[in-house]
């Protein structure tokens, strides 16, 4: 029993050591090291960073959009297996999926009307 898992352990060690080796051992040997202020800044869309992340508060809209994205992402996850079995499930499956989509649409409609999608 435990022997079967030792294979997994070895695999996990190899997988974990790869990024450590490349980032911290191999790369410093190969690359030139000439740091300056701009290079050490976090990457922000290629434009100069305006401020540090913890200096100001984020609009709650970012989170609302993220939550809405997750809802519809998960919806798609449920749609794929349903679509594959569409014929076998028949009308009952179609109705059930319609109910599921309707429930999600209620939330979407609510968010839309509460002006979550309006970007000021």
């Amino acid at each position: 029993m435990a022997a079967n898992y030792s294979v997994l352990l070895v695999a996990a060690l190899i997988v974990l050591s790869l990024p450590v080796l490349t980032l911290f051992v191999l790369a410093p040997l190969v690359r030139a090291s000439r740091p300056n202020k701009v290079k050490l800044e976090p990457y922000e869309c290629g434009v100069p960073a305006s401020s540090f992340a913890f200096d100001h508060r984020f609009s709650v809209r970012y989170f609302l959009i993220a939550v809405l994205f997750i809802i519809f992402d998960v919806e798609t996850v449920f749609l794929f297996p349903w679509a594959i079995r569409f014929k076998q499930l028949g009308w009952f499956g179609a109705v059930e999926m319609a109910v599921f989509l309707a429930i999600l649409l209620v939330g979407y409609f609510y968010a839309w009307k509460r002006k979550v999608l309006t970007w000021v």
């Binding site: 429930i103 409609f109 609510y110 509460r114």
Partner: protein, 492 residues
């Protein structure tokens, strides 16, 4: 899924459609109609209650464990608790009415979330599979997190919601881990299948671990020591009607699934968990009652008292006999209504934004509102378990069950701790009747009167004439009792 399943789920379907409509009402231009929000909620609850009663007649004919592939049962136990939940939510709706009107927050979303929480509780108490119970529990918990932080511009409310959410998420993780271990050992998530599998398994570390994690997750939901730390802060910070919700309906829901899981699935495994739960029960009673003595804030005091009551309710689960199962049913009902009555009285004492939060606020209530002061005394006596009130019947069943199951020491401790609890309940009585000082500032409105009066009638009537309640509890626990092989009266 067939049409039979739709009938089984009809109350849940109705309440979820209704709650969705409540959510949509403000965005189609009804935002200002705050009175219609309350009435819509009450009508929705009325329809749901009628459907539950209607369903209970319909499903008598159908084998109850076989709906939705065995994931959902509409037995007497579930129907009993569903009706308690619906009544409690209706009362909380009445309690919330004035409280919300004075705040600047949207009432429609509030009632919608209460509706979804109710849907989760109703689904959970019918769950016959660990996964359907978990889904119901999450629906209830997520709605409660939002409701605890509903007054989002108030620091205390936000803090309560944040603490509740973070700790609740961790406990859900623990619960799921326990469920997955049990599934790994038993090969099924269905409670009856787990029960059958356990009767052949002798002992197993993974299973033991799974049961303990499951128990820990459930103990968090019912706020038993040592998983109680969130309770006082959340109860204090949440809007008072939501504290009433958390300490009554939500708590009764936790009792109900605790009883269902342990009676149906784990009865053959009792020796291994009963001592652990007995310790948790003893700790909850001792710590809850002793910590409540020192509290000056009524909401915190009732939070610690509710921790102690979780300890009493655990007696009915540990004992695993017919008395214990009936005790859980009776105690939940009695506890919910005595507590709702107390919250109604607390809300009568509102000064400015807050309810009668301090013990001092009760000073002189007997002169300003003699009848409601008297009602408060009855509710407090009921929580303490003093004979003419319904609380005595609940405690009698639980303590008798513990003695019958051989947990005499626990019953003695419970009686002693009930005496301790009377000490801090009487502090409120002393403040109301004996303290001279400023007159209590009261705002007694019609909805609060209705709730307090109903709770008073239930508490006194069932205390003086408990036979119908006991008969109903016997009837309602029959199906689970037969599955757990504890009927008739066979003490294990």
């Amino acid at each position: 899924m067939t049409w039979n399943d739709v009938v089984f789920l009809l109350p849940e379907i109705i309440i979820s459609i209704g709650a969705s409509l409540l959510l949509l009402a403000p965005v189609v231009g009804w935002r200002q109609r705050e009175t219609s929000a309350k009435w819509s909620m009450l009508i929705l609850l009325g329809i749901t209650a009628l459907t539950v009663i209607g369903c209970s007649y319909w499903v008598q004919e159908i084998p109850q464990s076989r709906s939705l592939a065995g994931m959902f049962a509409l037995d007497g136990f579930a129907i009993f608790f569903k009706l308690i939940f619906i009544t409690a939510i209706a009362m909380i709706t009445l309690l919330s009415d004035d409280f919300l009107r004075e705040s600047r927050y949207s009432v429609w979303e509030y009632y919608s979330l209460l509706g979804f929480a109710l849907c989760g509780m109703m689904f959970m108490v019918s769950g016959m599979s660990l996964i359907s119970i978990y889904i119901g529990l999450e629906l209830m918990s997520l709605s409660s997190y939002i409701l605890a932080g509903f007054f989002k511009n108030e620091e205390k409310s936000t803090e309560a919601a944040m603490k509740y959410f973070v700790l609740g998420a961790v406990s859900s993780g623990i619960l799921l881990y326990g469920i997955s271990l049990i599934y790994g050992v038993c090969g099924s998530l269905n409670l009856l299948d787990i029960g059958r599998a356990l009767s052949t398994i002798i002992t197993n570390d993974a299973l033991m671990f799974g049961v303990m994690l499951l128990g820990a997750g459930l103990c968090f939901k019912m706020a038993a020591v040592p998983f109680h730390v969130w309770t006082p802060d959340v109860y204090e910070g949440a809007p008072t009607p939501i504290t009433a919700f958390l300490s009554t309906a939500s708590k009764a829901a936790a009792f109900s699934i605790f009883a269902r899981i342990f009676y149906l699935a784990l009865h053959d495994f009792q020796l291994d968990w009963s001592n652990v739960l007995a310790t948790i029960s003893a700790l909850s009673m001792v710590l809850g009652n002793l910590a409540a003595i020192t509290q000056d804030n009524v909401k915190r005091m009732l939070a610690y008292s509710s921790i102690a009551h979780a300890g009493y309710a655990l007696l009915g689960i540990i004992s695993l006999n017919s008395l214990g199962l009936r005790g859980v049913l009776i105690y939940s009902l009695v506890y919910v209504f005595a507590n709702l009555g107390i919250w109604a009285t607390v809300l009568m004492l509102r000064r400015h934004e807050y309810g009668g939060e301090r013990v001092d606020d009760f000073e002189g209530l007997s002169r300003r509102a003699p009848f409601w002061a008297f009602a408060m005394v009855i509710f407090l006596l009921s929580l303490g378990g003093i004979p003419p009130t319904a609380g005595f019947i609940g405690k009698y069943f639980l303590f008798a069950a513990a003695i019958q199951a051989g947990f005499g020491w626990l019953a003695i401790l419970a009686v002693l701790m009930s005496a301790v609890s009377m000490f801090y309940y009487l502090r409120l009585v002393v403040a109301m009747y004996l303290r001279e000082g400023r007159e209590a500032d009261v705002a007694i409105t019609r909805p609060l009167q209705i709730v307090a009066a109903t709770c008073l009638i239930i508490t006194l009537l069932l205390g003086i004439y408990p036979t119908p309640l006991i008969n109903q509890a016997t009837e309602s626990s029959r199906w689970i009792g037969a599955r757990a092989a504890i009927i008739p009266h066979a003490g294990r």
